[in-house]
């Protein structure tokens, strides 16, 4: 299928992209195109103008800056999955990126596009929330920083103000006693998460859970922080019993939905099963 006709502009800097978005209210950014072009081919999205930012050098690259990993918005899933520092410090992000879609999709899709698109079944939102990532966004008034936790508002709805560009994602490197992981139940056709759970959990020397951030994607209208699971973990001894007790709250903080593939009841069940699995990975 062929998209509706549109005007094509290539931006060579973030400033230029912002300027085009300002002067043309029908313009949309194009990064890897692996969420936007499928929608345009189906004519579910018909932007008047595409602003191709894929050539903007300042949006590329992965760097360690102090205690954070700063990942340029245009970094592809394949690059994230392979990067040695990300694999070492942010294993849940490397795992999630490595399991997005398929080899070809990972070669094109970008972290910025994935978060901006905010598909309720995307993998990266859960990981970004669990790691307490911050999105740097640039607009006509300058730069701003948004917490991933507050970014996802609904299906394909985010807190990104109109006309702004995500320039990078900063992820704090967790303390050395933190273990993190991402597990998902992939949709058999698309690979998207029917349910995906990311966890970053710190355990003290005596085996007590000190800190826990858990996030669930796929199950609800958008990725959410499973606060009741976190509360059931903190202060408890890391044990199978604690895992089972905490995992039962996995569906409590989201608006769990039904679709042709999975009913609400089944998704709630999957939330608990996959939360149990991810907690077993990081705690036991």
């Amino acid at each position: 299928m062929i998209p509706q006709a549109f005007a094509y502009r290539r931006a060579s800097s973030v400033a230029e992209a912002i300027a085009i978005l300002q002067e043309d209210s029908g313009a949309k950014l194009l990064a890897g195109g692996h969420s936007l072009l499928p929608l345009m081919k189906m004519r579910l999205a018909n932007p008047a103008t595409l602003v191709d930012i894929s050539g903007v050098k300042e949006l590329r690259g992965i760097q360690r800056v102090g205690d954070e990993m700063v990942i340029g918005a245009l970094t592809t899933h394949a690059e994230v999955a392979k990067h040695p520092l990300i694999r070492t410090h942010l294993p849940a992000l490397a795992e999630a990126a490595a399991r997005i879609g398929d080899l070809q999709v990972r070669n094109r899709g970008t972290i910025g596009g994935n978060l901006a698109h905010a598909d309720p079944s995307s993998d990266l939102p859960a990981v970004a929330i669990a790691y307490d990532a911050r999105l740097t966004v640039m607009g006509p008034a300058g730069r701003d920083v948004l917490a991933a936790e507050d970014f996802f508002l609904g299906p394909m709805v985010t807190a990104l103000p109109d006309g702004q560009v995500i320039s990078s994602v900063a992820v704090p490197i967790p303390a050395s006693n933190t273990r993190s992981a991402y597990v998902k139940c992939p949709h058999p056709a698309s690979g998207y998460a029917v349910v995906g759970v990311a966890a970053a959990v710190a355990v003290s020397a005596d085996g007590t859970v000190e800190h826990a951030r858990i996030s669930v994607t796929g199950a609800a209208d958008c990725a959410y922080r499973a606060r009741q699971v976190e509360e059931a973990l903190v202060g408890k001894t890391a044990s199978l019993e604690t895992v089972h007790e905490a995992a039962q709250y996995a569906a409590e903080d989201g608006w769990i939905g039904s679709d042709v593939y999975a009913s609400e009841e089944y998704r709630r069940h999957l939330c608990c099963v996959y939360t149990k699995r991810v907690l077993q990975k990081v705690l036991l």
Binding site: A5, P84, L103, Q104, N107
Partner: protein, 187 residues
């Protein structure tokens, strides 16, 4: 609405082409309709089947989900550019030897996906091959012989590796893919 026309210059199988195209033209249609390279197939509308896979700057991508204008300045390799009829690429040979196809519709995309995989990971395990094939759909073979064909190609490439390959591996990386691979290996 009037579609904007853009000039694109890209290299396909080693030959440079410049064309004025509509911005909405997909790379797969550019290859098939503008250049007559009909080896690259279209099997779906949903970016899922992988029949359209080509190498874009040495990486396997679905050409139905890339605009021709996005490939401006890039190098594209299609199935037509992989081997010659008198000197098949090890993957083409593998598909022949191991009966890796039946109707053949998926085959160009599968081979180009495998070429991208082997470029990054010359000696994949069976599991890595199967994971690498997630983005291609074959309605005929059941994949078993496709996996064997790719294993054959990986072995062949390995055997056929002439002496200087050791030197190449030890020298500085030559492209983006190499630097990516090096980072992976450091991990």
């Amino acid at each position: 609405m009037e579609g904007s026309k853009c000039s694109v210059t890209l290299s396909v199988n080693g030959t440079s082409y410049t064309r004025e195209v509509e911005a909405r033209l997909l790379l797969v249609h550019f290859l098939r309709d503008e250049l007559g390279l009909t080896g690259t197939h279209v099997g779906c509308d949903t970016s899922q089947c992988g029949a359209c896979t080509v190498l874009l700057d040495r990486k396997a991508v679905k050409s139905c989900t890339v605009l021709a204008v996005q490939a401006d300045g890039c190098e594209v390799t299609t199935i037509e550019g992989l081997g010659r009829i008198d000197k098949l690429h090890p993957l083409q040979e593998g598909f022949w030897e191991k009966h890796g196809l039946q109707c053949g519709f998926c085959t160009p995309g599968v081979i180009m996906t495998a070429a991208g995989l082997l470029d990054e990971n010359p000696h994949p395990t069976e599991e890595e091959i199967r994971e690498g094939l997630e983005g291609v759909i074959c309605r005929c073979t059941g994949y078993q012989n496709i996996v064997r064909a790719i294993q054959y190609a990986a072995d062949r490439t390995h055997q056929a590796e002439p002496e200087p390959v050791v030197e190449v591996a030890a020298s500085a990386p030559t492209g983006a893919q190499d630097s990516l691979r090096q980072e992976g290996e450091d991990a």
